[in-house]
Amino acid sequence: MADSGVIDGPGRKDEIERAKSEGKDLTKEEKQRLRKEKKQQKKIKEKKDDKASQENEKEKKPVTSAAPASQPPTQPTVQKAPSAVPATAPVSVPASEASVPADKPTKTKAELKAERRARQEAERASKQTKKGETGQQAATSKPKAPPSDLQPVVKRLPEHIQVDNPDVLKKLAKKLERQQIPLRSDYGYKVSLFSHLHQYSRKAPLTQQLSIPSTVIHPAIVRLGLQYSHGIVAGSNARSVALLHAFKQVIRDYTTPQNEELSRDLVNKLKPYISFLNQCRPLSASMGNAIKYIKKEISNIPSNCKEDEAKNKLLNCIESYINEKIILAGVAIAKCAIEKQKISDGDVILVYGCSSLVNHILCKAFEKNRKFRVIVVDSRPRLEGKEALRRLVQKGISCTYVLISAVSYILPEVSKVFLGAHALLANGYVMSRVGTSQIALVAKAFNVPVLVCCETYKFCDRVQTDSFVSNELDDPDDLIVTRKGTTPLEGWENESSLGLLNLVYDVTPPDFVDLVITELGMIPCTSVPVVLRVKNVDQ
C-alpha cells in the first residue's frame, strides 16, 4: 500500500491542493499531508541515498546484531539515537511493503483490512518522524530539524569509519589538499563487513609522496609517522609518549609569526600534523586524549605571555603529563596490585601479547620476591608475545609460551589472567588487541578471574558494543607466510573471491572482566563512567 501511495504521488498532490483550498475535514487532509511529507522524505532519502543509506545499513546491522546478543543497559550515544529515528522509518516501510506483496494474490476482506492497517502503521511511523523533525522541543531531542533537513539528524561520524562513503572521502581529500598532506590510498580487496574502514599497505608509505624538503610538516613528525606506519613504535603507551616527545620538539622549534597569537596559531599548526599522523596510522584513544590535553593547554596560554615563557610552560605541561599519567600511574598500579595481594605466592598468571603495563607489574612483583610463574599467550601475525617473553625471562621469571589456539588446554592450570587495554570505553567495554576477548571468554568459562590493568588517561567517552563499528585494518600481506619453500597465499589479489582480514583491535564486554586496576584504585568494569565523571569534575 505504501508502494501505491508513492506511485499515485503527483495525482494525490493535486487532490491535496484541491482539498486544502476547499477546506475539507481536517483529519483526512492531515492524513494526506502526512502521506505527502512521507513522500518528500522518501525523495530526499533517495537523493542522499549514497550518504545516509550506507550509514543506516551500518546502523541497522549493529542494531539488529546487538538485539540477539546481550544488550548493554546504557542508551546508545546521541550519534546512534538520531540516526535510529530515520532508520526506523525505512525499516517500517519495507516491513509493510514486504507484507503487501504477500497479500496481493488473495485479496479477501481480511487481507484488505491488513493492508489498511499496514498503511496506518506506516503513516504513524512517518508521523513520528515528522513530529520529531518539525522542531518538537522534547527533552530528549538533539538535532530535530524540519523534514527537508534529514541530514543533520546524524551527528558527525568520524571520517575513518566511513571509508565506503564517497562524499566523505571527497571531503577528506579536499581537507588534506588544503593542509598539503598527501592522501594515502587503500590497498587490496576489503572484506565486506569491514569495507567502511581503511586498509593500507606497508609497502606504500605516505612519505614517498611527500616532497623534499616538506615545508608543512615538521621532520620530527615525519619520522614519527614512518615509525607508526612501519610498526617500529607500537603499543598505546609507547605511541603516546613518542607523540608527546615529537610535539615537544615541534614546540621548541616554533616561532610565532607576526600579528599572530601563539595560543591560536600553534593549535592551527598542529592540525596538519595530526592529519598526517592519522593517515600514517589511525590515532589511538590514548593519543586522542593526549592531543586534547595539549590543545587545551595551548589555548589556555594568556595572550600577554612572552613567547619563551609560553614555550617553557608548554614543555613543562607535557613533561608533567607524561610523568603523572603514564609513568607514575604505572608505578601506582603496580603498587596497588602487589599490596592488595592480587599477585600471591604460588600463582600461575596468564598474559596475552605484550602490554608494557602488565610486564611492569610482573617485574615489580618479582622484585618484591613473590613466587609465581607466567604463561605468555601469543598469536599471529604480530607475535608480540615474544617481546613480552624476552622481557620477563631477562628478569628471571619462569615463563611458558603457548599460541592462542592452546589456551583452553592450559587454562585449568591458570589462577589469574592479567590483560592490558588499549582503551576503556564509557559503557565498560575493554578495547584491546585482537584475541583479548577470546581469552577473557575462555577464562570466564573456566571460572578464572580476569584482571585488566589500565591507566585512567586511556578512558574514553566513546561507546561501542561490537568490534565491527570502529576498528583498524592492518596490512593484509602480513598474513602471508612462507613455510617449507611454499607461499600458499602468494597471489591472493588475483583470486576474486578471496579476502585477507588482519584486524588489530577487539572489544571485550564487562561481564567477562572481574576487576580493573587503575591508579585511582581497583574498580569493577561497570564503574568506568563514574571515573570519567569524577575526572570531568576535576578538570
Binding site: L515, P524, S527
Partner: protein
C-alpha cells in the same frame, strides 16, 4: 587500651547492637579520653585502637566501621588551630556519625519490607539482626509470610533466629544447611544479611551464603541482601581464596591455631553476579552501584 576492650565487652551485653556500632562507640570513648598533643598522634592511637579491637572481634564489620569512623571525623581536623577545639569538633562529628548509623537499620527495614508480598515464603540464613528488623516491620504491616531458616552450623545461630521469629508469631521452619537446594523450589525469595559489602558489590557473610546464592540463581529466585552502609569495606576479593585470613577465622582461632588450613572458615564471599539487589540506608542499590557509593564514601 585495656579499658577499651572492657568497654567493648560491656557494649556486647546489649545484644541488639551491631558489633561495628559497639566498636565505634568504644572508639568515641577512646577519643574522649585521649590525652595526646598532636593530631597525627591522635590518628595513630585511634588506628592502633582499631587494630586492637579487630584483635578481639575479627569480623569485617568492625574493621570497616573503624575505618569509616576515622575518615568521618578526620575530614574536618585541618580547619582549627587549637587542638582542644579540633578534638571537640571531632567528638561532635563522632556523635553525629553514631546517631546516623543507629538509625540505619530502621531505614533499611522501611525500604525492604515492601518487597515482601502477602503470602510470601522467605528463606534466610543464620542469625541476622537486620533481617530480623525487616521481618518485624513486614509483620507489623500485617503481612502474612512464612520463613525457612538454615540451622547454620557450627554455632547453630539459625535456632536463635527461629526463636526470635516465633516470638513475632511468624511461622518458621528450621532446615539443615544441606537442605537449601531441596527447599528452594518452595520459597519465593531469599533475604540475607551481610557482615561486609565489598567494592565489587559482592558480600562477605556467614559460611553457607555462597551456596544459597548459587542455588537461588539456578532456581531463578531473587537473592536480596540487607546491610547498613557502615559495612562497606575497601576489599576486592576475586574468589574465596582471596579473602584475607584475618576475616575468615575467629580472632581466638587465629591466635591459637597452628595450621590454618585445618580450620573451618566462618565466612565466605558471594560474588555480585549472584546478588539481585542490596538494601542499604543509602537506598536500594544494584551490585554495580555499590562501587559508585563506595567512591563517594571513601574518596
Amino acid at each position: 587500651i585495656d579499658n577499651s576492650i572492657s568497654l567493648l565487652d560491656q557494649m556486647k551485653k546489649d545484644p541488639d547492637m551491631a558489633s561495628a556500632v559497639a566498636a565505634i562507640r568504644t572508639l568515641l570513648e577512646f577519643l574522649k579520653r585521649d590525652k595526646g598533643e598532636t593530631i597525627l598522634g591522635l590518628r595513630e592511637s585511634l588506628t592502633s585502637a582499631t587494630d586492637c579491637l579487630t584483635g578481639v572481634d575479627s569480623s569485617v564489620a568492625v574493621s570497616s566501621g573503624g575505618e569509616l569512623f576515622l575518615r568521618f571525623i578526620s575530614l574536618t581536623s585541618l580547619e582549627h588551630q587549637d587542638l582542644s577545639r579540633c578534638k571537640k569538633v571531632m567528638e561532635e562529628r563522632g556523635e553525629l556519625f553514631l546517631e546516623k548509623i543507629s538509625m540505619s537499620r530502621t531505614k533499611v527495614a522501611k525500604l525492604c519490607h515492601t518487597f515482601i508480598k502477602d503470602g510470601a515464603k522467605i528463606l534466610t540464613h543464620s542469625y541476622s539482626r537486620v533481617v530480623l528488623r525487616v521481618l518485624e516491620k513486614a509483620a507489623a504491616e500485617k503481612k502474612r509470610f512464612s520463613v525457612y531458616v538454615t540451622e547454620s552450623q557450627p554455632d547453630a545461630a539459625g535456632q536463635h533466629m527461629a526463636e526470635a521469629l516465633r516470638k513475632l508469631n511468624v511461622p518458621v521452619t528450621v532446615v539443615l544447611d544441606a537442605a537449601v537446594g531441596y527447599v528452594l523450589e518452595k520459597v519465593d525469595l531469599v533475604i540475607v544479611g551481610a557482615e561486609g559489602v565489598v567494592e565489587s558489590g559482592g558480600i562477605i557473610n556467614k559460611i553457607g551464603t555462597y551456596q544459597m546464592a548459587l542455588c537461588s540463581k539456578a532456581h531463578n529466585k531473587p537473592f536480596y541482601v540487607v546491610a547498613e552502609s557502615f559495612k562497606f569495606v575497601r576489599l576486592y576479593p576475586l574468589n574465596q581464596q582471596d579473602v584475607p585470613d584475618k576475616f575468615k577465622y575467629k580472632a581466638d582461632t587465629l591466635k591459637t591455631a597452628k595450621n590454618l588450613s585445618e580450620e573451618h572458615p566462618i565466612i565466605d564471599y558471594t560474588p555480585p553476579s549472584l546478588i539481585t539487589l542490596l538494601f542499604t540506608d543509602l537506598g536500594v542499590l544494584t551490585p554495580s552501584a555499590v562501587s559508585d557509593e563506595l567512591i563517594k564514601l571513601y574518596l
